[in-house]
């Protein structure tokens, strides 16, 4: 492929990988605390809607982006209430959250169908964007993409090298021991759920504020589920999540280009690509025994002590 096709394709790869990256990082934090949140799809959609609506009414994209994060944390708190307070099954609660979140977003979003809202556009970084090849791919993006260059590092440092991160991991690996050591396991799990939900909401808002700039039903189209799969692919490591998200961004960008170029392949077969890739990626991670990295108490509720 010639560079004048390849470079725009790679730039589009980074862009379409970004919402998945936000959501994957969110799910990593949640899962590190021992909570499996399968509601990512629903939380992302609610974030996307909130971001869109706030941008439309206030005209302030940054405020909209933050509002989407807060909405994501609120939506995820439903999962916290059901699983941490009421001891509900985490798998079922997550599924229910997806059903509820998707329903709510599509229900409340009807007035916005087909409208466009102000959002984020490309903001080239001086000097860096002039680097040949790398510049146009990485440094001619919108500001929300630049945040995700730093985010995985920050999260990895937080989880890996702070007291707080140690507590979070303890809550996910061995909650009984963590409790015995005087840690507030439920508190850490709440933090994991809320911070994770915040990031998932941001991922959803990226779609409506920087990617499509308009609201449609089911805007996320399974990206939340892809994020859940990517956590496993990433072996619960933020850095690898970046790689995985761009892999998916690449296949999505490629699929759009191929459709636009008018290939003879039917669009339904092209649209299958990201979902098929998700399965391949899972098979690959299991084959590499990455599932050994799974937090030991993932999905297990901590029973109240009498």
């Amino acid at each position: 492929m010639s560079p004048d096709i390849l470079i725009p394709l790679l730039a589009a790869t980074v862009q379409s990988g970004t919402p998945i990256l936000y959501a994957t990082l969110g799910e990593i934090i949640t899962e590190k605390s021992g909570v499996l949140n399968l509601g990512v799809e629903g939380v992302m959609l609610l974030g996307a809607l909130t971001g869109f609506a706030v941008a439309l009414y206030t005209g302030n994209p940054l405020l909209a982006f933050m509002a989407a994060g807060i909405c994501g944390a609120l939506a995820a708190s439903v999962h916290g209430i059901v699983c941490l307070w009421f001891q509900g099954n985490q798998v079922v609660s997550g599924l229910a959250l997806t059903i509820l979140g998707t329903g709510l977003a599509n229900y409340l979003g009807t007035p916005f169908l087909g409208r466009t809202a102000p959002g984020f556009g490309p903001m080239p970084i001086p000097l860096l964007s002039k680097i040949p090849t790398l510049g146009p791919i990485f440094f001619n993006q919108d500001p929300l993409v630049y945040i995700t260059y730093a985010l995985p590092v920050i999260i990895a440092l937080f989880i890996g090298s702070t007291r707080w991160g140690l507590g979070l991991r303890a809550a996910g690996e061995y909650p009984a021991a963590a409790t015995a050591a005087g840690l507030n396991v439920q508190g850490y799990r709440w933090a994991g759920i809320l911070i994770g939900g915040f990031l998932m909401g941001l991922g959803g808002a990226y779609l409506s504020l920087a990617y499509t700039h308009l609201w449609t039903n089911n805007l996320t189209a399974g990206r939340g589920w892809i994020a859940v799969a990517l956590v496993i692919f990433a072996f619960w490591k933020p850095g690898r999540a970046m790689f995985g998200a761009y892999l998916f961004g690449g296949i999505m960008a490629l699929q759009l280009r191929m459709q636009a170029a008018g290939t003879t392949l039917p669009s339904s077969l092209l649209l299958m690509l990201p979902y098929a890739l998700t399965i391949i990626v899972l098979v690959f991670s299991s084959w590499r025994r990455g599932t050994n990295e799974e937090p030991a108490a993932l999905g297990v509720n901590v029973e109240p002590i009498d």
Binding site: G88, A229, S268, Y275
Partner: protein
């Protein structure tokens, strides 16, 4: 200071757990009414219209029963897998594949007599759905891949495959460009019972529900599945063929969803078109969980949630409420019943400090 604590009950609640669940459903109805009010629709009248639309007339009840049929069969399938604690979220895709398999028979051999063609369609639908369920089981067993995500991704793939067929090679040339196959021949169509508007599919549901009950009550394999679901380690220790059970439940699970796909194309719309994919497979999961995997309760829950769908269609017409309202109510009911489950095992106590 007074503080709220929860304490495990000596014994889980028996019959009074029904009250807890009813309270939970009441709470979700209340929240749904609030959402109606948010859109400026009359909340109480709206909920009443929903019930009336679902169960208020013979026509409504027939419609609810018609929608309950695919939900029931998918849910029965999901319940088999859930009993072994295998999370089959893929009923939607297995249902699509079943519909495709049945359609393939109906379009290929339209002139076969009905008593040959229809069983052949069922076999094809169950095989296609079962195979679609078996793939995640094989992956799980060989590579320990997470079946939740694999089955879910396979839903997207199955629906796109169905689209590919009806937009492409199976499109009826006389459909004016609409994505749909030709109407099935008369022999491929499951008729209605007597003069009613209820399909013989209801009879399929009753028979399969009965077989499900007998299977788990009286057969060795049925017992092994339940035991394996209670504790994987204990099952392995007792020498149960756990891996083979996983394959079996996923295949049966997919097969039942495939059967539902057969009934949907050959008794409800008599052709294959994308509009058959309305999320019955996901509702089936809600139903199976609400009914605690019991075949009789699954019947009741399937009928109620099918009624919810019919009622919401009614609301759409009367009050211009978006169809997503049905999803919201499903989600709310599931979440509140799930949370309420705690009061069956634990009890709240107030204590002074």
């Amino acid at each position: 200071m007074i503080r709220l604590r929860i304490v495990k009950r000596q014994e889980p609640l028996g019959w009074s757990s029904c009250l807890v669940i009813l309270a939970a459903i009441g709470l979700s109805l209340f929240l749904s009414a609030v959402l109606l009010a948010l859109r400026g629709a009359p909340p109480v009248a709206g909920i009443l219209a929903l019930f009336k639309g679902a169960f208020g007339s013979t026509y409504a009840i027939e419609d609810s029963l018609g929608k309950a049929i695919p939900i029931y069969l998918c849910s029965l399938g999901v319940a088999i897998a859930f009993r072994l604690k295998i999370w089959n979220i893929g009923a939607e895709g297995q249902f699509a594949l079943g519909a495709v398999g049945a359609t393939w028979m109906a379009l290929s051999f339209p002139h076969w007599p009905w008593y040959v063609l229809q069983p052949a369609m069922i076999v094809m639908a169950v095989t296609a759905g079962g195979a679609w369920g078996m793939i995640p089981a094989i992956l799980r067993q060989r590579l320990k891949t997470n079946e939740i995500i694999v089955t879910l991704m396979m839903n997207y793939i199955a629906i796109l495959f169905l689209d590919y067929l009806v937009y492409g090679i199976w499109k009826d040339p006389t459909s004016f460009g609409f994505p749909m196959t030709a109407t099935f021949s008369l022999q491929a169509i499951v008729g209605k019972i007597g003069t009613s508007n209820i399909s013989w599919g209801l009879f399929h549901c009753l028979s399969l529900g009965g077989i499900f009950w007998i299977f788990f009550r009286f057969t060795r394999v049925g017992f092994e599945i339940k035991a394996g679901g209670d504790s994987v380690r204990a099952a392995r220790y007792a020498g149960l063929p756990y891996d083979r059970l996983v394959m079996l439940v996923m295949t049966l699970s997919g097969g039942l969803a495939g059967w539902a796909g057969f009934l949907e194309v050959s008794s409800t719309i008599n052709r294959l078109q994308p509009s058959i994919m309305v999320g019955y497979g996901y509702t089936a999961i809600v139903v199976a969980w609400l009914a605690r995997l019991n075949p009789l309760s699954i019947g009741v829950a399937a009928f109620l949630l099918a009624g919810l769908r019919v009622g919401v269609e009614n609301l759409q017409l009367d009050l211009q409420i978006p169809a997503a309202f049905g999803n919201i109510m499903e989600g709310l009911i599931l979440i509140s019943v799930l949370a309420a489950g705690m009061f069956i095992i634990y009890r709240p106590v107030l204590e002074k400090k």
